[in-house]
Subunit: 153 residues, 2 copies
């Protein structure tokens, strides 16, 4: 006589706990940056621009592992919010570049501070060695599965 087995539960999977904690962290961060008038995706976009300086949308799409269309839409919103500038390229009139304006450059450090604060809220409960251990395990998985796309949601 064969024993029948139940389908595995949601909680039986590490992916479930990962998603639960990740969603909690992201939702909390989303609420923080909302006070500064931006979304998490916009923070990632702005932080990338802070490092690259003036850059073509297509390069940003490569770097952030997003489509050109997605970059275009994000850029539209940030232009409306007056945080970035879009400039034509005189040499190649198809090409554009995107860059932070003064307001955008001033916002990035404030958003970074919120990211620090949010990380502290969630992972401050862990001992320093636990924190290192968690980062090490996550980096190991990211490396082995070749996860490279910048997570924006």
């Amino acid at each position: 006589m064969l024993s029948s087995s139940s389908p595995s539960t949601l909680e039986a999977h590490l992916g479930y706990w990962l998603r639960m904690v990740s969603n909690g962290v992201s939702l909390s961060f989303a609420r923080k940056v909302e006070c500064e008038g931006v979304t998490v995706a916009e923070w990632v976009f702005l932080r990338a621009l802070y490092d690259t300086g003036s850059v073509a949308p297509s390069q940003l799409a490569d770097r952030m592992a997003m489509t050109k269309g997605a970059i275009s839409k994000l850029a539209d919103r940030l232009l409306e919010k007056s945080l970035i500038e879009r400039r034509a390229n005189p040499a190649d009139r198809r090409a554009h570049t995107l860059a932070l304006n003064r307001e955008g450059r001033e916002l990035v450090p404030r958003l970074a501070a919120l990211a620090d604060e949010n990380d502290e809220e969630f992972f401050g409960a862990l001992a320093p060695d636990e924190r290192r251990r968690l980062e090490q395990l996550l980096r190991k998985i990211a490396e082995e599965r070749e996860l490279t796309s910048v997570p924006v949601d």
Copy 2:
């Protein structure tokens, strides 16, 4: 003379690595369950129904920490896909109940197997004690931050 400090990078935050790995795991799982014609949210919904049996939408909303509207929309899709049944309650004609039909009950174990497979793909690279450690750390954060909502995205 004050030293100026750069805003912290994206990679400096544990939340960033958590989101990157979590998104990778979820995207991979989404592609697997797509072959069975459902989304991750629908898998969570179906797995919950598998345990509860016949249940009111409002109870499901509480259990899954979703709004009634979200439950209604999910239920609509699963009805179209002929995986669940919606029944009226003769005692209270406002009330309804949702339940898996035969097709839905048969699908859940196949989806659970895909969840097992996906977990193995991502976390199989970790040693057994690393895996336990990761789950322990995630559960600790979930508990301390009182994260209870079932993550569906």
